[in-house]
């Protein structure tokens, strides 16, 4: 029984009444295995009360629109009990004091929802954006990071993915995403054009990550590094900026009128380089062991060559930012649209859409950290009359 295992727990509970760890038969009302003390799947599921469709609602976060949301620590107010053995004694460093297993950290699963201004519509406020970053099932740490903020006339989101082979990359991703969103917010509020703000934010994040490596004193190639993808969504268009292989997608809404679903970024990766040079087919490049080698990143050893693009959707839909933990499993815009087809309308419930996609990645094996951010277009806040302050002006 792992802390991620509401899906597994369901299948175990539905199978035979036996302990998942030691095989001891379980009586229907047993809360714990008599032999080894492992919580019974039914009890564990009830005790943790996971939200439907969520890997586990460990640390739900809801952020007010006027408050910059960052991906840093947000501990649940109540000290959770051990998800593995049920004990309530968790030591300060996160290990269960009975079974010894480390409990999910405050960054292992973070979800953020930006509620819109204005009165609740139909009992629920529409969300301007939502995102989830999750450790996945096989990695010890979550080296992805996610940050977002809603401004009066724009929604800004940044997703970063720490380079797993380099120590300190977890910190790099967190720093880059926080810096990126903070710089975007400041620049846009000061009236800077989205494209300029996007470039300024990437440069600032790159410098911040490079400084991390300098203090470490190691070789540049051992310095912390991460990918970066940002989006500024206004009521007219979407501006994306990126370095590395974290992606932005446009997913057209069901009502039509919008441009078709599409990938808005091109990876800084070996595979993308091969395809762009017409050296290999897309399938062959992707199957190569070198496919994921990055050709661009933020960090000390980076040759900064950031990209940006402006996209005019023309109609309703959602913008999706994600780390490769998602797109490895669902690379094509069509795959993503299909994964969302059974769920609620992504424009109306971006958090629900993010959950569906994270779930899909975990169901596909969850080998990597996975991060998903969903921003409805046009932004929900644009339904609200523009505030008189801080209009966004175009600058040349």
């Amino acid at each position: 029984m792992t802390t991620y295992a509401d899906g597994q727990a369901g299948s175990r509970a539905g199978g035979a009444a036996a302990c998942a760890r030691c095989g001891e038969p379980l009586a229907e009302d047993d809360r714990f295995c008599e032999a080894c003390g492992t919580p019974s799947p039914a009890y564990a599921a009830a005790a943790q009360a996971p939200e439907v469709g969520v890997p586990q609602a460990r640390y739900p976060v809801r952020v007010r629109p006027d408050e910059p949301s960052v991906s840093t620590a947000r501990r649940a107010p109540d000290k959770p009990s051990c998800g593995d053995c049920g004990a309530t004694a968790i030591s300060e460093d996160g290990f269960c004091e009975v079974c010894g297993l480390r409990q999910p950290g405050d960054r292992d699963h973070v979800q953020i929802e930006l509620a819109a201004d204005g009165d609740p519509q139909g009992g629920r406020r529409p969300a301007q954006a939502a995102g989830i970053t999750d450790r996945g099932l096989r990695r010890a740490r979550n080296e992805d990071a996610l940050a977002m903020i809603a401004l009066p006339r724009a929604v800004c989101v940044v997703v970063c993915d720490g380079v797993a082979t380099v120590p300190g990359s977890e910190e790099a991703a967190r720093l880059a995403s926080d810096t990126g969103v903070a710089v975007l917010a400041r620049a846009l509020s000061a009236g800077v054009a989205p494209v300029t703000a996007t470039r300024t934010a990437i440069a600032a994040s790159g410098r911040a990550v490079a400084r991390l490596g300098e203090t470490g004193g190691g070789r540049p190639e051992d310095s912390p590094a991460c990918t970066y993808v940002s989006a500024v969504v206004t009521s007219e268009d979407i501006t994306v900026g990126w370095v590395g292989d974290s992606r932005a997608y446009w997913l057209a809404g069901p009502s039509g009128g919008a441009r078709p679903s599409a990938l808005l970024t091109t990876d800084d990766s070996w595979a993308a380089q091969m395809v762009s040079r017409n050296a290999m087919s897309r399938a062959a490049a992707r199957a190569d062991p070198r496919a994921h080698q990055l050709t661009g990143w933020l960090g000390a050893a980076a040759s900064p060559d950031p990209h940006d693009a402006v996209f005019r959707p023309g109609g309703p839909g959602v913008l999706l930012l994600c780390s490769d933990g998602l797109w490895n499993h669902l690379p094509e815009p069509g795959d993503l649209a299909e994964a969302l087809a059974d769920g609620p309308d992504a424009s109306g419930d971006p958090l629900g859409a993010a959950r569906l996609l994270v779930r899909a990645a975990l169901d596909a094996g969850g080998r990597d950290n996975v991060t998903v951010a969903v921003v409805p277009f046009p932004p929900a806040a644009s339904a609200v009359p523009p505030t008189p302050t801080a209009p966004i002006r175009e600058q040349s």
Partner: protein, 449 residues
């Protein structure tokens, strides 16, 4: 006091286990250093304890040969001269039973210029007569130390022969009574004593022992042992080990300075927690090899496989133990074979040293039994291991017991004429280990978190 020791615990391990892996090894290094003068005590420091010292001199009849008695007197005097003023002390003579030499009556007295002068005088009158009953000597020391709880309690034991005048059971009972009451370092003088016996005694009493073939060297040994005892600042140190539920502590062995298996010394001290007594501590560093078997976790999960803490008894009799330092032995399951198959250099080093000690002891035992095949095989293996772990002293001693034909494969031939002193020395020093080099300490698989 400016002389407060500050304790640290360092853990060296490869924390990665393959899927389904259970067995985790770690080297736990416990060290104490002097804090800066004038600095307030921190969490990891304790006030130095009072000290109590007893000198036990074998005065059995055999001591009158080869100048041993005269050398023992000189040695006892050297020790008395090193014991600091204020330390409680006594001198016991051992034969068929123990006899108080100084002071009169079953007690310890405080060292002063006056008591030192008196003790030096009466030690000069020691006579050799009677047999050897070491258990009875130790029991007496235990009774004298009982009046000094909280002090660093240390005894020096000198013997020249086998424990012939009491039964093994009597010795075992005495050791059981004395374990935890005091720490005992021993010296075997001449060549008629039994290394296995002194190994048993000093292991039970958390001390060390050495061979002193030449009686003239005793004086130097006694001075050194006493100086070392005077350097001990903290009494009754224990390693407290917490392990996860359903985990099993396979073994805990001291590896530096000597190999001593502490596994059986566990005293339960809480839920999933046991204390392993380490004796008294000065400015020194010791290393322990810990092996714990844990229930496997899923790939990607981390577990605290053991939580080791250095503890001393609380200030008041009922006060909880004071924690001086702590360290974590972690486990992390991975499907990356490159990580899980790596062996920590220090774990490998100490695993080799354990096997080396066993190979020597088994080889010498087989040789004494006349089982030459086993002796050749085990001592040959010892030659390979001694070179591998870089224990040059043992390699040199092995050269005096076997002719090495090929050190790489361990092809050896037993020497026909081996001096008793060389055999004793090899047996005695089989458990004396060497530290791992600095290179092995900072490997990429050093402790994380």
């Amino acid at each position: 006091m400016s002389d407060l020791p500050e304790f640290t615990i360092r853990v060296d391990q490869n924390p990665y286990l393959p899927a389904g892996g259970r067995e985790m090894h770690a080297i736990v290094t416990v060290g104490a250093t002097g804090a800066n003068a004038g600095r307030a005590p921190t969490a990891g420091s304790v006030a130095p304890a009072a000290r109590a010292e007893i000198i036990i001199v074998d005065t059995s009849g055999s001591m009158s040969y080869s100048g041993k008695m005269a050398a023992a007197k000189r040695a006892a005097r050297a020790a008395l001269n090193v014991i600091r003023d204020g330390v409680h002390f006594a001198v016991i003579a051992g034969a068929n039973g123990p006899r108080m030499i100084y002071p009169r009556g079953d007690r310890l007295v405080r060292m002063s210029p006056e008591t030192r002068r008196q003790a030096l005088t009466v030690v000069g009158r020691l006579d050799a007569a009677g047999g050897t009953a070491i258990g009875s000597w130790l029991s007496m020391a235990g009774r004298l130390f009982a009046g000094h709880p909280g002090a660093v309690r240390h005894a020096i034991l000198l013997t020249d022969g086998k424990n012939q005048h009491e039964t093994d059971e009597q010795l075992d009972e005495a050791l059981a009574r004395c374990a935890g009451v005091f720490v005992c370092d021993a010296r075997g003088v001449g060549t008629d004593w039994d290394p296995a016996e002194l190994r048993k005694i000093t292991s039970a009493l958390l001390g060390g022992f050495l061979d002193v073939p030449d009686p003239d060297d005793l004086e130097h040994h006694f001075r050194e042992m006493t100086e070392s005892a005077m350097g001990k600042q903290v009494a009754d140190v224990a390693l407290r080990v917490w392990t996860p539920r359903h985990a099993k502590l396979r073994f805990l062995k001291q590896m530096v300075p000597t190999v001593q298996d502490l596994t059986g010394r566990r005293v339960e001290s809480g839920t999933q927690t046991g204390d392993y007594p380490l004796g008294a501590w000065g400015r020194e560093e010791r290393e322990y090899h810990l092996c714990v078997e844990v229930p496997p976790g899923d790939v990607g999960r981390q577990m605290r496989a053991a939580w080791v803490k250095l503890v001393v008894p609380g200030a008041a009799p009922d006060a909880p133990a004071q924690e001086l330092a702590m360290g974590n032995v972690l486990a992390e399951w991975t499907d990356d074979e490159a990580k899980s198959t790596r062996i920590n250099a220090r774990v490998a080093h100490h695993t080799g040293q354990q096997e080396l000690a066993e190979a020597i002891q088994e080889g010498l035992e087989a040789r004494r039994r006349g089982d030459e095949d086993t002796a050749t095989a085990r001592l040959g293996r010892a030659v390979v291991l001694a070179h591998k772990v870089g224990n040059e002293q043992i390699a040199g001693l092995l050269d005096r017991v076997v002719d090495v034909l090929d050190p790489a494969t361990g092809t050896v031939r037993l020497k026909k004429d081996v001096s008793k002193a060389d055999e004793l020395s090899l047996d005695t020093r089989s458990i004396r280990t060497v530290r791992t080099g600095p290179g092995a300490r900072s490997g990429p698989d050093a402790t994380q978190g």
